[in-house]
Symmetry: C2
Subunit: 550 residues, 2 copies
Amino acid sequence: MKIALLQLNFIVGDFHGNGQKILDGYQQACDQGADLVVTSELALYGYPPLDFLERPEAHDIQAAMLGELQKHIHRVGLILGVSERREGPGKRLFNASVLIQDGEIRQRWHKALLPTYDVFDEARYFESGRDDVFVFDYQDKKIAMLVCEDIWGGAEILDCPQLYQRDPVEELSKLNPDILIVPNGSPYHWKKGNDRLTLVGRVAQQLNAHVVYVNQVGGNTDLVFDGRSFVLDSSGKCVDVAPAFEEAVKVIDTSTSDRMDYLEDSNLENLYQALVLGVRDYMKKTGHQNALLGLSGGIDSALTACIAADAVGSENVTAVMMPSPFSSGHSVTDSEQLVTNLGIHSHKIEIESLYETYGQTLEPIIGWHPPGQNPGDVTEENIQARIRGNLLMAMANRNPGTLLLSTGNKSEVAMGYCTLYGDMAGGFAVLSDVWKTLVFQLAKHLNRNRKMIPDHTIAKPPSAELRPDQKDSDSLPEYDVLDAVLQAYLEDHLSIKKILKKGLADANTIEKIIRTTNLNEFKRRQMAPGLKVTSKAFGSGRRMPIAAKL
Amino acid sequence: MKIALLQLNFIVGDFHGNGQKILDGYQQACDQGADLVVTSELALYGYPPLDFLERPEAHDIQAAMLGELQKHIHRVGLILGVSERREGPGKRLFNASVLIQDGEIRQRWHKALLPTYDVFDEARYFESGRDDVFVFDYQDKKIAMLVCEDIWGGAEILDCPQLYQRDPVEELSKLNPDILIVPNGSPYHWKKGNDRLTLVGRVAQQLNAHVVYVNQVGGNTDLVFDGRSFVLDSSGKCVDVAPAFEEAVKVIDTSTSDRMDYLEDSNLENLYQALVLGVRDYMKKTGHQNALLGLSGGIDSALTACIAADAVGSENVTAVMMPSPFSSGHSVTDSEQLVTNLGIHSHKIEIESLYETYGQTLEPIIGWHPPGQNPGDVTEENIQARIRGNLLMAMANRNPGTLLLSTGNKSEVAMGYCTLYGDMAGGFAVLSDVWKTLVFQLAKHLNRNRKMIPDHTIAKPPSAELRPDQKDSDSLPEYDVLDAVLQAYLEDHLSIKKILKKGLADANTIEKIIRTTNLNEFKRRQMAPGLKVTSKAFGSGRRMPIAAKL
């Protein structure tokens, strides 16, 4: 059977645009001889709709668009991810897959397993489907349909906790389907693709069936979907796979004997492309054409500039150098080199006179000192960061369609080594889920063919340059130690005891890192949205109290 | 039976401190002759623990503290809200009530109905209890225990949707309990107390039993718990009620024939006290002794100053007047009058020289114009707000233990009529859930006995004073119209069609208000946490996508 995978980039809430995309994809698939066409999860809404699902209009508009769409579906079936309204006690909606054929909904499956962890809140919106699993005949095949998380009921093979009381795949195994079809809304994170393949491979073997896995592609606020939709054969081998990070209408013949390698997922290029697409789509879907950022000469802003240039084109990126009396000479020369390498626009603004005017203004009230004179007092340092934030925001305000990108990395954000309304200013926090050590790896990766980021930017010791001779290592552990401990704490959810046992650092260092991370929740609460690219990002997937003793 | 209600103010995650508080309360209750002592929900954790529940250490520390506590519980039973670990597929925890007596856990109930809407995410952490309801003998009574949401299974009497498949109260009605005991973590919102009483009164009648309702008190980040724990008799009448917004160990004899009025909940004093306690606890629990805020001469900052003075004492509040060339003369004189009335500290800082220096610095890059010259261009206006934000943050940075309070109201926050990093700067957004029209009502209420807020502050037309002759009404509908439409949209979840039918405004105005609200989600994502005091606040209870077409 020739099955078309509609791997599309939806705008959340744009029922009309999304519906038109699906229809175009359907027609293209039919032209290519498809027997059956499949979308991703909640395709008319775009995933995740979040609380937009609770708007009273939303379901009616989806219903109207669905009605329109149905009219164009003929003999070639469309398996579509939609929400369905329900009656009786419980939540008002099901998250569903429906088979449309000859203008009618012929089959429906209501998602049974509702992910309610990390960034997922499906139990907030949906009632779990309680129907028995089923197969239906389509041409000469027995087809089963599930939705996304429904196939993760046996995820303990990935050392994941077994979160659900039910396992629809296990139930389906008694019905001997030939093909299992699964619309998904599965966000990218680094190395996740391998888990997907392991798990879905196991599902294929368990059912002794082909599995058709269709994922959405594109960035939606803080999530980026990688696409990479695929079909596995009944032994779990990959028949074919759609490209990563781009739209595709991919027609795959389940009867072919061709097999291919599913692309390895732990490479840096992959991560880089996720960041690029996340920025591109955030800008496009919020109506921004131009990216703006401050360049410090350091590696975070340099990497962010590269991502921005790849996301929206060098000609649409403006970098601003804003040296202060505490900036090193190379902060400007390194930045200028980067600007030349990338071919982006740039400005240079000296902030000394503003810094002095703040000093004169504040001196009668709180005194004014050389920065760093009083240990622990960051007043004068923060003012520098905030002047820069203000100048950048003024430039963004003046030029409609311009988005200020903030450049802080995940290690800084964890430790609160950043200034609210200063370097944290901006509409999108590009690297907020990328460890500093990974920033270095990405920079070196980018330079592998052609030098983009100046050597000196990579080689020099990291510094905020807000006081004389400042180094990050004055305030933070070395980044290899810091990142290892933070990763164990945040992403691997290890107890302090287990982190200590791993020998990553001494007990004092570990406790100080975790305490500092917890105490800085107040800063992160005001951080711009950033892209989730690891298994646990700050933001909507990590909900910690601020007024607390943790 | 004499039942003690421990209405305590917990710090989330402070197992030791919370445990000690419970123990002190228990002993105090025993001294007063209590037969049975009851806490609020998840009392050792403090409610809501949020993702702290997922930390691997957390449960073990709770278990250790619980073990300590048990040793001190003798013949007089303690019904305690705790989490309990569980095995098998599903989430790892139950949200439970346990009866401890003579050092042992004698009875346990696992919460069956898990609120997963608005600010509540319990399905994220807990598995629903599936046990049958039960009663147990205690002295000469048949007692039943549930947890919080378990009694809301019949909430359709409040015109709420029926969210659950199960109704533990209905099930219990067959077992004829004498007393139902319910630990709760029920946050305040305006007028909610009346709903509680209606619902619990119905529960009492349905069971023909006394109901003991114990609530936590105090502010935890963005939620404030009002306490007001109570006991109802089997006819739904109030036997006695603990005070609002303060800790209490209240011993109530269920055999008494005394009855009293449960306090009406829709009065302004109530709302004001919620705001005061929310600010006081946020500051105390985050280690801040001093409050700082900017005073514009307008009503929002005036009200915020009053709340701060009541929260932490006038002597711990500092107000800063920061007039610009566009400020009216009365902006300073009105503020000075308020400072005198409240007896708070104050400073005055002219921002003209900073404003001019920004102009000189930016002129070569983006030009510089009188504010308001180019309609729609807010660059020069925003710089003024951001200078003020920077000055205030510098003062907070210089003085450890100082928290900057932001002063924007819910109407502004909805419409994005506020400046990121400017007037939105601060650690706590005191009025972010209070409509502008309600700000006026609260101000008049405060002035009822003694003039606190100058008449002119209340009487003058609202203005941001960022350009000559600016009025809020240049940019926004009149506040009575705006607030009515926003309330219908945000709190009452009405469709546009229904809002139009209510005749609150014309179709264009309604659509523009809703569109503007949706488009400004990006600002709110970076807003400081604020206090939820209505049924739907911005923040953790409202999760909207930013990159979307809504």
